[in-house]
Symmetry: C2
Subunit: 346 residues, 2 copies
């Protein structure tokens, strides 16, 4: 059997905590023997939730934490002050090697800050990147960076490409994934100052299968497997995806309820349509890893349900068992000559 992976689950993070979070953690351990979950948070709230389910007690541990970081708290302040919060306690366990990964549906900014300052970066990584999977026509694509660390430099973007490449190939299983840079035209001379500076670096970077620029229009059509961008642009892509999809889906539903005729039609279509819309729902694909951190920090969305939590935990297992961080470190270390030409050496 593969080695057991120890995953902290922040039981207090997100809109549906602790109920759905605990449920998801139990679903994860019940689906595989090689997972051990450590639930951090208020024990008096977690235990009654756990008592609702049957599971192997050896696979679940509860670590009591007094504090909770709230959704609206300023991140830096929260991480530095609330040492006894479920998030910071969990991150410290990852830092000390007592756990391999942490999953949280809590305050995004705090996860980002904590990932960098508490858990820490992989040696050689200049900036970690939040990398959610987004649905496409035929599968998924990885968006790096879609977090809150804006105004990246070209060298950051090259590392995003390297980390994203390793992740898509090894965790998602896409062989030699196509890496593209988000741009406003397909031609090499297009783009803003950052893209123009980054493009030749990506072109010269070995081992990432760089396919050039991708226009936002082509992302949902599956034009690339790894989409490299600065976080401001990435965050816009991620959120607009959600916004357009949800608006359009609610419009379609509305039109189906507009008359008796359409209501009958809707009944006939419903099962097939539900399947379709599900395939375009970002939450099906686990959480977003904070690539470049030691250990693994995974952010699931604030409204995460049990299935999202389960998927995120299972993603951590693949991540650990595939040795992603070791592969990332190896990929990045081609650069230690502090010379862009060094990329070619790998």
């Amino acid at each position: 059997m593969a080695e057991t992976v120890r995953v902290v689950v922040d039981a207090m993070g997100g809109d549906n905590a602790p109920g759905e979070i605990v449920k998801g953690a139990v679903m994860a351990v019940n689906s595989r023997k090689d997972i051990q979950v450590i639930l951090t948070g208020r024990e008096e709230l977690i235990r009654p939730e756990l008592d609702k389910y049957t599971y192997d007690a050896g696979q679940v541990e509860v670590v009591h934490c007094e504090d909770v970081i709230e959704t609206a708290e300023p991140p830096v302040h929260a991480i530095s002050r609330k040492k006894q919060s479920s998030m910071v306690v969990g991150m410290n366990m990852v830092k000390r090697g007592e756990a391999d990964a942490i999953v949280s549906a809590g305050n995004s900014g705090a996860i980002l800050v904590g990932g960098q300052t508490v858990v820490g970066r992989i040696r050689g990584v200049e900036r970690p990147a939040m990398a959610p999977l987004i649905p496409t026509e035929n599968g998924v694509a990885l968006l790096v960076d879609a977090g809150g660390n804006v105004d990246a430099r070209p060298t950051h973007l090259v590392q995003f490409a390297q980390m994203g490449y390793v992740y898509m190939e090894n965790v998602i299983g896409i062989r030699n994934p196509r890496v593209a840079i988000l741009n406003i035209g397909a031609e090499e001379e297009k783009g803003n100052a950052l893209v123009k500076e980054t493009y030749p670096l990506l072109k010269a970077c070995p081992g990432i299968n760089f396919v050039g620029s991708i226009e936002a229009r082509e992302i949902p059509h599956g034009g690339a497997d790894v989409i490299v961008c600065e976080a401001f642009a990435g965050n816009i892509v991620l959120k607009l995806y959600e916004g357009v999809a949800s608006t359009l889906i609610s419009k379609v539903k509305e039109s189906m309820m507009s008359s008796l005729r359409t209501k009958i039609g809707a009944l006939l279509i419903k099962p097939a349509l539900k399947q379709t819309l599900k395939s375009f729902d970002a939450s099906e694909y686990g959480g977003a890893p904070l690539l470049g951190c030691r250990g693994l920090v995974v952010k699931t969305h604030g409204s995460a349900k049990a299935t999202d939590v389960r998927n995120s935990v299972i993603q951590c297992v693949t991540f650990k068992q595939q040795g992603i961080n070791e592969k990332i470190a190896q990929h990045i270390s081609g650069k230690d000559g502090k010379n862009d030409q060094a990329y070619k050496r790998e």
Copy 2:
């Protein structure tokens, strides 16, 4: 009767030129008496198209032009070399006041370059902005800037806000439109360097009803009427909108064709659904004006059909009759003290 508005229609621009372009021009003159259309392009191709329709010959003029700017031509080169092209000839007519506006479905980059260098900017406008209307849950929003002039400065963005405000209020008829800046969080301290610098300027700018930051997720839900952003981000929003909507619509259609059962359901739903999807189709809303140019330059999309052309021409009439450029000049001129505080004086 209102004054007649003279609109150049570039008969050679776009995938469906000249057939659909000429047809759209005729539809426009047949819908209103106060429009005169000047078709620029190869007369031997335009005349046979015109001969298919009945219209008041006094409302349509053809100006023969030898050259055509192709879709893939480098914009600056095309505009400076092809003086006898349908686009440049038309733009020069606007510059000289022989026409009030030009509509083109041709090379976007060339329209942008030509608008700035041939037609020229309104006095006081630092940079013109391409401002398409995008569909929302309950109507439309204006995205400024979604063109190709990236890396804008904060003062540009303030002018985008002012021009967008005037346009939405007077052309689209939204009273006191809500102006927001595209951002990655709702809080004032969020954002990249550009947004952080621009935010206080917008807050201090009178007469634009600034409502703060808008996250991309809220755009389709109708969170603002005017969305101010730098062109790189704006272009991503515009193209992702198209991409997600078209992917999702094709997925819905696919699921409806998956079995006999769903096919019957689809027949019942079709008319209502078609209406819904149409309301989410950007091409219904005419073209994108290049705000800040003297006269008016309108870009319709490359695949524009006759209806798009007609709508764009009619949009020009409203633009002219409402004196939008005079209103923009007035709005902008609050700034002639070359002092950001001057915004407060208006």
